[in-house]
Symmetry: C2
Subunit: 725 residues, 2 copies
Amino acid sequence: MIRRALIVSLALAGCAPVHARQAPASLPPALPAADLPPLFAAEVEDARSFVDAMMERGVVVPVPRDPGGGYTHEQHKRNYKAIYLGGQLYRVTGQQAYADYVRDLLLAYAELYPTLGDHPARANQNPGRLFWQVLNDAVWLVHSVQGYGDIRDTLSEADRQLIDDQVFRRAAQFLSVDSQATFDRIHNHATWAAAGVGMTGYLLGDDDLVERALMGSDKSGTTGFLRQTELLFSPDGYYTEGPYYQRYALMPFMVFADVIAKHDPDRHIFQWRDGILLKALQTTIQLTYDGYFFPFNDALRDKSLNTDELYHGVAIAYAETEDSGLLDIARSQGRTILTDDGLKLARDLAAGKARPFPFRSLLLSDGPEGDQGAVAILRHGEGDGHMALVAKNTSQGMGHGHFDKLSWQLYDNGHEIVRDYGAARFLNIVAKEGGRYLPENESWAKQTIAHNALVINGESHFGGDQKLADLHAPQQLYYDAGADLQISTATIDSAYPEHGVTMTRSLALLDVAGLDAPVVIDLLNASGNGSLTYDLPLHYTGQIMETGFPVSRNLAERPVLGEANGYQHIWVDGTATPTADNAFMTWILGGRFYTYRFVPQDSLSVILGESGANDPHFNLRREPMIIQRKSGGTAASFVSVLESHGLYDGAAEETVGSRSQIASLRHETRDGYDFVIVETTSGTRTALALSYDRDPTKTHNAKIDGTDVRWTGFAARIALDGEND
Amino acid sequence: MIRRALIVSLALAGCAPVHARQAPASLPPALPAADLPPLFAAEVEDARSFVDAMMERGVVVPVPRDPGGGYTHEQHKRNYKAIYLGGQLYRVTGQQAYADYVRDLLLAYAELYPTLGDHPARANQNPGRLFWQVLNDAVWLVHSVQGYGDIRDTLSEADRQLIDDQVFRRAAQFLSVDSQATFDRIHNHATWAAAGVGMTGYLLGDDDLVERALMGSDKSGTTGFLRQTELLFSPDGYYTEGPYYQRYALMPFMVFADVIAKHDPDRHIFQWRDGILLKALQTTIQLTYDGYFFPFNDALRDKSLNTDELYHGVAIAYAETEDSGLLDIARSQGRTILTDDGLKLARDLAAGKARPFPFRSLLLSDGPEGDQGAVAILRHGEGDGHMALVAKNTSQGMGHGHFDKLSWQLYDNGHEIVRDYGAARFLNIVAKEGGRYLPENESWAKQTIAHNALVINGESHFGGDQKLADLHAPQQLYYDAGADLQISTATIDSAYPEHGVTMTRSLALLDVAGLDAPVVIDLLNASGNGSLTYDLPLHYTGQIMETGFPVSRNLAERPVLGEANGYQHIWVDGTATPTADNAFMTWILGGRFYTYRFVPQDSLSVILGESGANDPHFNLRREPMIIQRKSGGTAASFVSVLESHGLYDGAAEETVGSRSQIASLRHETRDGYDFVIVETTSGTRTALALSYDRDPTKTHNAKIDGTDVRWTGFAARIALDGEND
């Protein structure tokens, strides 16, 4: 079945490399190695090592047979990488052998491609030719056309014609015509196809291909690349599926835009829609902590900025903007790409032009018009150990979205303190269902109880129905990132249509007089029809140091919490009924202590649990949680504070501040206002006041603890004992 | 009760600093800051920051009142640190203020000391004066006498006399006469006392004190410092309590020896007993992986070479030996001490003289005569990610020892793959029983089932009786660290006197043809009287990828494994009855896969479990284990292989070799020989042959798989299909 070691060795008179007609090339045909900046030189060596090994194995272009992960699948992936890097190596080194190898590979494809129909392992409605899915064929084309562009002018007329017609025109035809349904979607898969087809059009001088890529197959502009940039990103450059897929989606956008900019500068593609593509690149980077993407929705938690998509994105954006913060990212990546953009970046990095990337607090709207909710990021401090709160008030984000409206995460001291589980999946690990999403992704990772989100009556948001969820998004009511108060407030009234539940959540970083770090304030009000059960989980990381409340423990037998909607995966370690003076719990993580304290509203109980029950194949991680449960009533108010304190240094045998410095937490409501009052052990009181009034100029008055207080706007921090205590 | 801010401000005519009579000082009285090498300069700054802050607070010498962790306890600790560093700062900087502050502190002590009796918070038979335990008083003296030595010659005759007599002579008298019982023990506490007394003797020119310190209070040499060096370390420099306490014990030995060497060079203290103290320092460092001490016995797992004791030990040993590997350790520590030894080390480090510390395979005998068992360390590769197997065949190690005869650990790829739990303790964390050893240290951490050690009939070794355990040690039968086979074999027949059990275990790193890393072979033979139940746990770290065997899972309710001896702390996730073709399990940790495979001997079942049951205060970590259980029979043979394979790179979305490359594992016995035969998926067979014959020249013959094989000595690797497959 497999044609192994098909070595095509056409004699070719040595053509001196000349630049392609349309390709503006700032790389000279061969750069002296000594002139290469270190980052770029290292890439050359990496690429050499890969391509040289491929060349040793010869030209191997097998007839397609296997699905993802199988031999022919992996070999065609290796081949496009070799074509892509081989072309670049030829441009950088001028060594003819690289051009010859790319040519020989493509001649083998020219022989194979015309023989292909639908892939024999087709898995869905969108089969590819070389691969089981059309998406992979598009990725193949995006890479291969770049490598081809680097060597095309070295070819004999006959070879060039053969490869143009039998490989690239056919591939473009397949993607844009035969696979028109995919091509004309407003979807990331269509972006890959448009990029491949459009880049082929530019290389072959085929305006029809270019036009179809940019404006859709009917050239009306209702689909195609330009429309995709309008509909797939919010005005703030947020991609609706979330950071993990944003990273992936960005690649064809940036690579194709780079080609458009170079061939068609009058289009001003990087200024298009208020610079949406460059904004999206910046936003992608902002959606990280210590280099790792916020793992909400279906995300692999070990995905970081150190990924091929971002090496491309950073180099292309840097070449366009010369933003010195991007050099900082490139430095931490330690990688770049073998293009003129990568060379420019590497040179400027070597010249010391990098400046720290400005990670900051920001609000990222979701939806093409920016009105489908938002992600609010609140950061305090700088560098690896800074504190970052992420409020996830986005829309569902399609099939990879989780049912986690108004959920949140907290990072501190280099760790994820309040966790998002991410996806239940072990990528590419054969023993774990071939590396696909696991059943527990549906039964646990997507369910509301698996998130730091409010659950009503043990049911997930929208009843776990994605189609319903796609129709509704939270509303971001307020966002502000001031010096001593950063806050995000959002609301949604559609997550439980059956129960008519409205929930409104404010998450804040509040400076408290006398504490060395801001505390997190979490205020969640919910109301609905009839008597409801309200569960608010907190998925934390760390080992419990103490619970203020006595816990009724399941010491020698652990039951599970429920039957469905994720509850079947929770072991119950114990339950408790906290009172106002003992409603707190302290854990330790990474040498820092965290105390979670909450107001024991009426009918409140607490469940201490751990994920991992009903997990026959050990697919779940076992992670702790605490659930505040209010049983009964048409309304609930969850008021919590999370305090980061102290230090444990095992090496120095030093422990300080292992106990909470907060003496009490109170919640008061008056005239529609909410007040959360934090009193420290030294007796100073700091309040968060919420008017919920979006008029920033309106003044509000109230009495707290007998004192008249006054503030303007939606929310305010009030130091009840002055600032100097 | 507390005398706060007792500021003693005696006027002192400015004495130019002169060297103490006996103290050979290579540090000039004041070094220009610019001449200081970076490491030393940084220490000066650290010390300044501490001492300057102390000086701002004034002289605070409270009447002793509190136990460990309390205010007066911590203040007297701060004071000795200030005396110690203050003296050194004076020598380094020549700034009189430091000498004055040390003098003022000591004058305050001269006022306080004569008023003291037993500490009011005395906790045991050995009360201190300044502290609740005499040990702390000794530590106070060791530090203070050094700081005093640095400034003594600057004092007026009157002050000097006052401090000599009222502080140091009294403290030495207290430790060596009033506390004679402690002083004359062969125990680390006595080493601290001897060091304090002896260093005081040298400083004051009091030969009687020196003699008592070196030879014991009766000066016979049956106790005292020299005898301690003979009895507390094995000939290989191993300290019987284990690495965690070895680190602590080393400090007074090295510091006092340094003083002896400088004042009494003819004693050749560093050559004493074949250089035992320098050997002990080297051994301490060898007992680490990636800088962290092997955590067996009562150890805190976060203890690393970055600890005060080792800053001293490394500087002193370097000054003595100029061993460039120690500079490498100092570089990774990033710390040193403010003495002439520290200066020399810092200068040589700055001069680029460091060479990688030679971590290597080695056998460390235990016991004063080296016949109380051993620790065998087998290392493969170099650097942070190297593989290291630790076979713990030591004696009990007194009160901090665990009941874990013939246990082991494995490190690989920067992680502890096969774990030792260490101690159940959260040092200095008030909420965790004041930071003391927790009840679970006895009920779990010390028990045999909590280790990778064989349990008979659910009982711990020696019935968990330390006094009995102290009487018996394993015998190290064999150790060899060859290129393609490293192996340790040990035996013990005294751990279960009631059942007459003998157990013999071989742990090896075996090169297997076709695999890229050696595999661990674990062969444990046990026999006893009557029908016994044999449990062999493996405490691993990671998430299960697959089990070859079907597991009967406790999915919605987890029972505990037993009632006592640690079994009450184990949740049972499931049980299984593996067969020869499916007796393996694979997990992932740190991007690497590990497959544990074993021979399913008769009546073998398997238990998958997790620690954490019956843990009312969340004191235990929750960690997985697999237990091989053989029920019934007078003998058992556990034959297992642990294979490190493949790579998972989430960032690059790359997974290779996620499945075991071993096709089968067999165990054969013939004529008293043991053979373990590993066959890879590519069909090559590699055998470990054991004759158990300690004659290295004797030749052995046998037939394996029909082939005649031949080897000499105790153990051998045999490539059954040649080396080139």
